[in-house]
């Protein structure tokens, strides 16, 4: 009895799974008729949901969200080929968007709105992808122990005065890999390797934990400076955990390389898939996300910077001050990612 029931349950499940996975054969036909878009996204910030809901309300276009790891999503789109129901791909770093483009998974979008809303270095030159939010990888420092005069560039972090004072997460994380990629692009492979080795010399401890853990380490007195993404500081300060709040308030933000190329930034971005069944709606969606009003909410919710220059950053971000950003084409970050990983391994940055 139980067995039969289970059998039915299982067949039902299998059927439902397969159905969702099966290419929508009619997708081409009701391209314009059914109002919806399918979004493959790596972002898993709950705040996004509200924005999608708002888009649905305003335009009547339903947003179907498929959340997964960016690598998985790319693989999925690859295997689905021209049968893919994906209209849009969202990632949390530029490198993967570049990878998707190189695999031929995205298509060119010509939109004046987007060209005007998003600065050139934050989108693909051929219009395959567009940045939606911006984050900087900055130096935060112990307010009590460090003077801003002592800080200048990423490269200067190898100086002996920082010996045993630098807290930074593992090389396995994409944000560090992108940072090193930008240094390779700007300073060349040799110098980049020397830099990495120098930073390793100055580690306060072997890399452990995530960005927020580095700041907690400053609070605990294990180190004096840390390298983190800006939005993590926002998360700390607004955390529910009292220790995290203390940690966030114990440090200040410093934007490196203001005198030369600018601070390293990265984007969370979006692209229209090559075989998108609802291209028009998809473009509408991107334009929606790039609009001033939405930018302000979208970015603020996760303590990120808007890409649209006319959108104002939140008060918290403003309090950190304006900064010059490295206008290196972000596609470079993707191209040099593997080299960065190799260098990290060579200098034994755990």
């Amino acid at each position: 009895m139980l067995r039969q029931f289970m059998f039915i349950v299982f067949i039902a499940l299998l059927a439902s799974c397969s159905n969702e996975g099966q290419p929508k054969a009619n997708a081409q036909e009701d391209k314009q008729s059914d109002q919806s878009i399918t979004l493959y996204t790596h972002r898993h910030y709950d705040t996004d949901k509200a924005i999608f809901a708002q888009f649905e309300e305003e335009t009547g276009i339903k947003v179907n969200v498929v959340k997964a790891n960016a690598d998985e999503l790319i693989q999925k789109m690859e295997s689905e080929g021209d049968q893919s129901p994906a209209d849009l791909l969202i990632t949390v770093d530029a490198g993967r968007l570049v990878r998707a483009k190189n695999k031929g998974l995205l298509q060119t979008i010509n939109s004046d709105i987007l060209t005007q809303s998003i600065p050139a270095h934050l989108r693909d030159t051929e219009g395959h992808w567009f940045g939606l939010t911006k984050r900087a990888r900055v130096i935060v420092y112990d307010k009590d122990k460090v003077n801003t005069e002592d800080l200048s560039t990423y490269e200067a972090l190898t100086e002996s005065k920082w010996n045993n004072k630098i807290l930074i997460r593992s090389s396995g994380n994409i944000y560090n890999q992108s940072l090193l990629a930008s240094i390779i692009a700007n300073d060349g492979k040799e110098k980049a390797k020397e830099w990495a080795a120098g930073v390793v010399e100055n580690f306060a401890r072997s890399p452990k934990g995530n960005d927020r853990d580095q700041v907690k380490g400053i609070l605990a007195g294990e180190g004096e400076i840390a390298i983190i993404n800006t939005y993590y500081l926002g998360k700390l300060i607004n955390s529910k955990d009292s220790t995290e709040i203390k940690a966030g308030n114990a440090v200040s933000v410093f934007f490196p390389n203001q005198e030369d190329r600018g601070t390293h930034i990265n984007i969370s971005g979006i692209g229209v898939s090559r075989y998108a069944p609802h291209k028009e709606n998809a473009v509408k969606f991107i334009e929606y996300l790039a609009s001033k009003e939405v930018q302000e909410i979208f970015a603020e919710a996760n303590y990120e910077y808007p890409v649209n220059p006319s959108a104002a950053p939140s008060d918290l971000l403003n309090s950190w001050g304006e900064f010059k950003e490295d206008k290196l084409p972000l596609s470079k970050l993707g191209e040099l990612n593997k080299e960065a990983v190799i260098i990290f391994d060579e200098v034994k940055w755990q």
């Binding site: 067995r3 289970m6 059998f7 349950v9 299982f10 499940l13 299998l14 799974c17 397969s18 969702e20 996975g21 099966q22 290419p23 493959y40 898993h44 709950d46 498929v66 959340k67 997964a68 790891n69 690598d71 998985e72 999503l73 693989q75 999925k76 690859e78 295997s79 689905e80 080929g81 049968q83 593992s170 396995g172 890999q177 072997s206 890399p207 452990k208 934990g209 995530n210 960005d211 927020r212 853990d213 907690k216 380490g217 609070l219 605990a220 294990e222 993590y232 529910k240 955990d241 220790t243 995290e244 203390k246 940690a247 593997k338 990983v341 190799i342 391994d345 060579e346 034994k348 755990q350």
Partner: protein
């Protein structure tokens, strides 16, 4: 031997073919790994050998050593105390000692950082009552050993306890009459007699340690499994990942052989006489034991169960408003459905293999069992990689030859994932069910044949009903294992499937470890429920599948 060839035509039957076919089909991932080795090393292989290989080997071996010692101590001490002594709440404690298995080891790893890291809850509490303690650094290999040991010791506990309980009083009493002290009895008699079971338990611990991905990754320890993931994703070199997998499999087989050699062919089955159940075997605690023994039991329970649950509960409360929602419920439902479905398939496959193999007359076919059940010792990450690689080949083949795009079957449905679960966990169902069919003996089935029933009819009318209890408990065991599974699921799950285990991992990996608590607790709760069912089922059902009271005119 000459007879075998002469009788090949006579003795071969459909069951031989089915058994071979099913067994081989199930074991494809292993063959895949071996075959793809012939493609040569990947481009990053030199790099890996130069910078990582030694690390992987050293760390893995050190982990095995460390967890081996700690689980040995924890498992045996607790098994001994609950088997031989009586004290208040003993039954409860006996059962609680199983529970750490309900908490996946990577979740224990997250919890401990929350307890003892910078600003950890336990640290804060201790500071508030006067201890000047800063933090305890968990994120190193010792922390990993600690976490894995407290999470996995129940394997040693369970098998050792079963053996200790089965030692009849007569052996113990004889030893005392011959002048042995308690301690001497323990070290010279009880422990040696239990050694095969202890080794069996340790073996399971080792397999789990090598399989672990989430905990090692979080603590930043380079192991084979984390290396395989990293090589595939960050270094983008699937081929080298396959080579690493092959090396790990070699390590696993070495351990397997070592374990078998240690265990030897000795069977320590002791004949149980009639009197063993009448005397109460347990003594009460007196003297210093009154304090020491409960303390010894408290250690695994506190560190393996209470502390992690407390930390998870704290986090869950913090994140309740964001996490307690329909999505969580939906994920739980998906997790449970997939686990049920896969467990069902695994059970069918196990039963099919066991009985088809019995019905066939070629002895050589029996080796298929070893091939098909090998999945349990192969780390999930390797199975995932093997299947991914095989899938590519199959998809390309269909695309090139038949111009059929079948990618969605692999990436969009749970078919492949369930197939992988079957391969990975077949042994969990196969071994206990097979053991019980052997216990049943062949005479019942043979009587049935002689009374005119076909093999299949006998299976359904006689053998399956009598195995009902074992089948259900095998089902539950498999279900629990699937629910907890991480690395395999991470690699192979279709994009539209989410499980509690993966969800918890993703949150932790994305630096939102507090949010991982609620999915983790739901997972733990579900598993605990299943364990309670298992326990209840074992007590209720006699091995004949009918309740104990019978009619008699």
């Amino acid at each position: 031997m000459q007879f075998r060839i002469k009788h090949l035509k006579r003795d071969i039957n459909q069951w031989s073919f089915y058994t071979m076919a099913i067994g081989l089909f199930v074991a494809i991932p292993v063959f895949a790994i071996v075959i793809y080795l012939f493609d040569g090393v990947g481009e990053m292989w030199r790099h890996i050998v130069n910078y990582f290989l030694l690390d992987y080997i050293q760390n893995s071996l050190f982990l095995l050593l460390g967890t081996g010692f700690l689980t040995f101590f924890l498992g045996i001490s607790s098994a001994w105390i609950v088997s031989n002594y009586d004290f208040p709440f003993r039954r409860l404690i006996e059962w609680l000692l199983f529970l750490p298995l309900a908490i996946p080891s990577y979740i224990v790893a997250y919890a401990y950082v929350g307890l003892l890291g910078n600003g950890g809850s336990l640290i804060t509490y201790l500071q508030s009552i006067g201890f000047s303690i800063q933090k305890v650094e968990m994120m190193n290999i010792f922390g990993l050993i600690w976490v894995l040991s407290f999470s996995l010791f129940p394997y040693v506990y369970a098998s050792t306890r079963t053996v200790f309980k089965s030692h009849p009083n007569s052996i113990r009493e004889t030893a005392y009459l011959l002048g042995a002290s308690n301690r001497r009895y323990f070290f010279s008699v009880a422990l040696p007699l239990a050694s095969p079971a202890i080794i069996g338990g340790l073996f399971l611990v080792f397999m789990e340690v090598l399989n672990d991905y989430g905990a090692a990754k979080y603590y930043g320890i380079n192991t084979f499994t984390t290396g395989i993931f990293r090589t595939w994703t960050a270094l983008e070199d699937l081929q080298s990942a396959i080579y690493l997998s092959a090396l790990l499999v070699v390590l696993v087989f070495l351990i397997n052989s070592l374990v078998n050699w240690l265990r030897g062919k000795r069977s320590y089955a002791i004949k149980v006489g009639q009197q063993s159940s009448t005397h109460s075997r347990r003594k009460s605690l007196n003297g210093s034991k009154r304090i020491i023994y409960p303390l010894l039991l408290a250690i695994p329970i506190v560190f393996g169960l209470l502390l992690p649950i407390a930390q998870l509960s704290y986090w869950a409360m913090l994140t309740l408003d964001t996490m307690l929602n329909a999505e969580l419920f939906w994920i739980a439902l998906q997790s449970i459905s997939v686990a049920f479905g896969a467990a069902f398939f695994i059970l069918i496959t196990a039963l099919v293999l066991i009985f088809f193999s019995k019905w066939n007359y070629l002895n050589s076919v029996h080796f298929i069992k070893k091939v098909a059940t090998i999945g349990y010792v192969i780390p999930g990450a390797i199975i995932g990689i093997g299947i991914i690689r095989s899938s590519q080949t199959v998809i390309n083949f269909f695309s090139d030859t038949f111009h059929l795009k079948i990618g969605y079957l692999f990436y969009g449905s749970s078919v492949i994932l369930i197939y992988a679960y079957v391969f990975r966990f077949l042994a969990v169902a196969y071994n206990p069910i097979e053991a019980n069919t052997l216990k049943l003996g062949k005479y019942l089935a043979e009587s049935s044949y002689l009374l005119g029933s076909s093999k299949i009819k006998t299976l359904f009318k006689i053998e399956l009903p009598l195995l009902r209890g074992t089948i259900i408990s095998a089902f539950l065991l498999v279900f629990i294992d699937i629910l907890k599974e991480l690395p395999l699921t991470l690699i192979l799950k279709p994009y539209n499937l989410q499980t509690l285990a993966v969800k918890a991992y993703e949150y932790a990996d994305d630096e939102r470890v507090a949010e991982a608590a609620l999915p983790a607790l739901v997972l733990i709760f579900t598993i605990t429920l299943m364990m309670m069912l298992l326990n209840y089922g074992n007590k209720k059902l006699t091995s004949f599948g009918k309740p104990a009271n019978k009619q008699m005119k």
